[in-house]
Symmetry: C3
Subunit: 331 residues, 3 copies
């Protein structure tokens, strides 16, 4: 689970705890046997984990709760988790907030013990710890000839326990983060993924000019992860760049019929991601991203993708745009 140093000041620096689990822990996952039907393959067990990560759930000020890799480092969104297909990871949630909390992951494999819901009794009380086991599997051919997709995708994790069966108050407090699962041959970005969480009429409770500044040098492979939470629907638009509406955001081959988009409708708990070559065919600049629902963007739901020149310098024009953005020309 790689967690790179984030790009900007709005996400605190995070330290990665990556210790291979040497021994068995207190509880184990149920073993899933063969069936007379399609064989259901076994989820990884706590004794099989390749890596172990600790996440702390903590209050941030009076209104927010976030996840962090260290005490006093909780943030919203929480740390970006990365897994590679084939990995089994144990994430121990140390709940240091004042209410029940959990980790519910999208996209990866987990038994009901790692579901992270009240219904499955997999929440964590205040002051308590619980280990969730997530598996990312590779694509395979089932015995019946059908293709089982691999786990690769731009996924996310969030609370599902705080103040209700669906974690609504946990989500609205800030308990969410990105979970990127990569296929072995997926290209890696040159810079930290820029994680943008659309919630209410904000990006993670921030409005322009306080929204995340995504940044890359001209020609670098940049990566965006866009997650929606809450009750609103949005359309995510990025200026000057486009992507494919596929698993990876890229075309897999020439002739791939997938739609190319620069604007995507998204609703609560949807997530998608894509890589772009920063400034490809369009040059450096301070390029806007924003929700294209007009009253959302007018309320400040916009930010900047700063493409510096190939030496990493901000061009004078981009600097002027940034200055205008910070000065209030944004909503």
């Amino acid at each position: 689970m790689k967690m790179r140093k984030p790009l900007g000041v709005w996400i605190p620096a995070l330290m990665v705890v990556m210790a291979v689990v040497a021994g068995a822990l207190a509880w184990t996952l149920p073993t899933i046997g063969q069936t007379d039907n399609q064989p259901a393959q076994q989820a990884c067990e706590i004794t099989d984990v390749d890596r172990e990560v600790t996440l702390f759930a903590e209050n941030i000020g009076r209104n927010r709760v976030g996840y962090g890799l260290q005490r006093s480092q909780a943030s919203f969104p929480g740390p970006t988790m990365e897994m590679t297909e084939g990995e089994c990871v144990a994430v121990t949630l140390k709940n240091r907030s004042n209410k029940k909390a959990s980790l519910h992951a999208h996209g990866v494999d987990y038994t009901t013990a790692s579901d992270g819901t009240r219904l499955t009794r997999s929440c964590v009380g205040p002051g308590k710890d619980r280990t969730y086991v997530w598996q990312a599997h590779t694509e395979s051919l089932r015995e019946d000839g059908s293709v089982e997709p691999g786990s690769a995708g731009y996924w996310h994790y969030h609370d599902h326990c705080r103040f209700g069966e669906h974690g609504t108050r946990g989500i609205y407090a800030g308990m969410f983060g990105a979970l990127i699962v990569r296929a072995p041959d997926d290209p890696l970005p040159d810079v930290e993924p820029c994680v943008l969480v659309m919630i209410g009429t904000t990006f993670a409770f921030k409005r322009a000019p306080n929204t995340p500044l995504c940044e890359a040098e001209l020609g670098q492979r940049a990566e965006f992860v866009v997650i929606t939470h809450g009750d609103e629907f949005h359309t995510f638009h990025l200026h000057g760049h486009r992507w494919a509406d596929t698993r990876s955001g890229s075309l897999e081959s020439s002739g791939d019929p997938s739609r190319i988009i620069d604007n995507k409708t998204t609703g609560p708990a949807d997530s998608f991601g894509f890589q772009v070559i920063a400034g490809e065919r369009v040059g450096p600049g301070a390029w806007m991203y924003h929700c294209h629902v007009q009253n959302h963007s007018d309320l400040g739901m916009s930010g900047i993708f700063l493409v510096t020149d190939s030496n990493g310098q901000i061009t004078p024009e981009a600097q002027r745009t940034l200055d205008r953005f910070k000065g209030g020309h944004h909503n």
Copy 2:
């Protein structure tokens, strides 16, 4: 048109009327001739139908109207219709409700006489009957070299006549159902399709714990059909399972770039479906499905996909979860 016995108690058992039409009926479909342009192929006529089905439209209590295969068996959603590409089916609607009604189908071929709208004068008055003809065609290559897609898909049918040009009150009364068209080599599910209709902040006017219980044994191929109706947008989420955002919900081949999802934004009259191997890599359990719009799920827009063990037994853990769900731990 195969109609299997539904999975649970919330959809009444249905009997299939499958009689090959031997003679010509009173009205015929217009014949479509060749043109100087791309040849428009001929829709099947009433004299060509492979099968005939009768549907009754009936009032259910004071507020609901549904479709049923027999008198007094109307339900919402109505019976799940299944066709195979290449088939031509005549569906006779016997309107035993108190207002105009119709069948408007998505996805299949029909002439304007089978459009099922007031505008095309293809409604059915109270006490009257009308035969709608639906055709499902196979994929073909057009003369200009382009591919004409086959009719296969997870479609649906609904009223388009009750109290207005768009059937709004018919839809809000319960006049809707699933229409599955299969390509000849599509894999069949091992259990009845679980049809989930998102309308308002309910699944077919039911809230937890009264929403459909979808059920399959570990390793069985289960099938979901999700239809949205009305005015709201939703995101459908299923715990512990994922699917491909394709026609079939599956990847057609290795390297297929389609997005893998476990959460999908959907709006009125959208429909999609998918098959999963129940419990694949995650094991048995009572897995939640729910709308991920937080205020929708908090209002009870959630249900259970019960994956029993490979012997069809409910595991003790799943039973406890079910009990909690029925006891009110659901919203």
Copy 3:
């Protein structure tokens, strides 16, 4: 940039100004150099343009503002722009309206000087002119082996400057239009594209029966471009016809796993398009298109796709349907 004569009376006839730019204009685009990273290719410069188009922004009555190819011909939507991959086009906006205006394009390549936003200082004051340069590139293989998608798609352009950073009042005034970029081997439609802009609970501020009449002869290849603007989400439904949810709306090959749809959820600034063979397998008729959000359709958000017979004649049944539609049987 081909601009065909539009289909009906609700869009004024437009004349195309296509003059190859012979000399250099006053400003040039920045040159983008090679980098140590993925080489960012150079956007076309004003000196390289293949064609030049002039657009006028003008007030229409008291409440609307539109784009037009000639003075006094502004319309909403504005003229449909067409480009072919590989082209570089200079569009000079002559702002003859009473407020700031711009052109912001989706899908194509442009430097920040052609971004068309206040933030990038690329608006046009009243009475002023500004030239925007748009490039449409072909698919290519990057040096790292990944596929750079071509620009082909059903895109759009709109104001991004009027009364605010996001052009909200420009959009709500009518400052939008379609931008179709074709790959060299894309099939051309036999008739003018039918451009439908979903905004509020209208198609471009029109309600039934005043919505666009899309029209084609039986067997002709018809083309729809659907653009959403504003604040609402919609579902676009077409009766009797279906399309593939791909870049082109068609399947590229047999076995293409893409979803076939006849109803699509869409949000602000989304755009999609597709071609259908008019009346294929279903015959001539007056086929409804409408938003399937029930309260939107009930408010009159519907129109007609008129498929005439193969001689271009309106069938008697279609004429009766048209008459009913015009007479008020539409909402």
